[in-house]
């Protein structure tokens, strides 16, 4: 199981201290803005932040070219505007907090090691890819490959917590090594594919092929039905005590998890039998 106690502690953000970036012009040209990272904003003046590099399509520009910047020298960051085509916000961040007001583009918080990202809208694909620590909280929907590994890599997310209040796409937590992903809505197919260890909780519909090729780790479906691969076998029906700890923590973070789920019974399946078979899928059992 992943450790959640160290993962997220919400620090109320004082907005007066924060650096606020507002995208000047909506665009569908992809913007790579990995320089929107709290680590880089600390110790920088407003002009210093404005001169950080970014890419507008193939053109090398500065953050100041694309965003109006207010504030300086802070690891508290607010990003506003039509950000669906802005990629890599918070990539490799280790500290501070990024609040995205609206939808955001691909690779949000990839390789992140600490701090927190809150997205008030939807996030694009690959959010939290190869994440190692910290917390990503997405109020809307997440895209595909949430907390996943990039193509060809042996392991993906290696720590931290991702919470999605809406739905998430395909291959959530692919090749996950450690950490926790909670999706309150539905997830598409291949959640936890080839996961090594770690935990994925899904409140809505758990898509097909969950846990395909998983070695160890835990996938929990709070809905009382899930379609499993033939390479998982039924073990027992039980009340997992560890789950209580997790759910209480989620409660503490302000998430509403039904009490039935806290106290209830789960059917346990183990797999994937093509590999170690030490992974488990728990499906809430209403009976």
């Amino acid at each position: 199981m992943g450790c959640i106690s160290c993962a997220g502690f919400v620090i109320a953000m004082s907005e007066t201290d924060a650096v606020t970036l507002r995208l000047k012009e909506p665009t569908t040209i992809p913007i790579e803005a990995d320089s929107i990272c709290p680590d880089l904003f600390v110790g920088r003046s407003q002009a210093g932040i404005e001169s950080l590099p970014a890419f507008y399509g193939r053109r090398k520009v500065t953050l100041g070219d694309l965003f109006t910047v207010e504030g300086e020298n802070s690891d508290q960051v607010i990003v506003e505007g039509a950000l669906r085509y802005v990629k890599k916000i918070g990539q490799r961040m280790t500290r501070g907090r990024v609040v995205v007001r609206g939808d955001v583009g691909l690779h949000l918080g990839a390789y992140m090691r600490g701090g927190e990202i809150v997205v008030e809208g939807n996030a694009g694909d690959w959010a939290g890819a190869h994440m190692q620590g910290g917390r990503i909280w997405i109020r809307g929907n997440a895209g595909h490959l949430l907390g996943a590994a990039y193509r060809g890599e042996k392991r993906g997310m290696n720590g931290g917590v991702i919470i999605v209040e809406g739905n998430a796409g395909r291959e959530v937590g692919a090749l996950m090594r450690r950490g926790l992903i909670v999706v309150l809505g539905d997830v598409d197919e291949f959640a936890g594919v080839r996961m090594i260890t770690g935990s994925i909780f899904v409140s809505g519909r758990l898509g097909a092929r969950a846990g395909a090729g998983m070695k160890r780790g835990t996938i929990v479906a709070f809905a009382d039905h899930a379609e499993l691969l033939p390479t998982f076998r039924y073990d027992c029906r039980f009340q997992p005590t560890f789950l209580r700890c997790y759910l209480l923590q989620l409660h503490a973070w302000g998430m509403s998890i039904d009490d039935d789920r806290l106290e209830g019974f789960y059917r346990r399946y183990h797999g994937d039998l093509t590999t170690l078979g030490k992974g488990e899928i728990l499906i809430y059992d209403q009976r």
């Binding site: 694909d125 895209g143 595909h144 490959l145 796409g169 395909r170 598409d188």
Partner: protein, 111 residues
């Protein structure tokens, strides 16, 4: 409205017509068609050679119905503009759209 599973793919006719040009009559004939098994066809009251409207969540196309040995509940459309009107552009992080296995509706073309 009964739903079918749509499979798209290459056919010999489509391959042979390709070099004749996308605007050739051969290419149009080879690609703007939909194959269905006789049981389904009769159930829908359709005739081979008839034009039908085919609809998915992503788009629709008007195609000529042909009879073919296929599992019940499955229709086949050769690769081409017709098939492309029916499949979506979402690739779910793979680059590859779901070109096979979509749900489709087939109805006779009125008028």
């Amino acid at each position: 409205m009964p739903k079918f599973i749509l499979i798209t793919g290459r056919t010999a006719g489509q391959g042979e017509a390709l070099p004749k040009g996308k605007e050739s009559e051969d290419y149009r004939q080879a690609t703007e068609c939909i194959e269905m098994n006789p049981v389904d066809r009769e159930r829908l009251g359709l005739q081979a050679g008839q034009r039908v409207r085919v609809r998915t969540a992503f788009g629709e196309a008007v195609l000529v119905l042909r009879e073919k040995e296929l599992p019940e509940g499955m229709v086949f459309v050769p690769l081409g503009p017709g098939a492309n009107a029916l499949i979506g552009a979402e690739t779910r992080g793979t680059g590859m759209p779901d070109s096979k296995g979509l749900e489709v509706e087939v109805e006779p073309l009125c008028g």
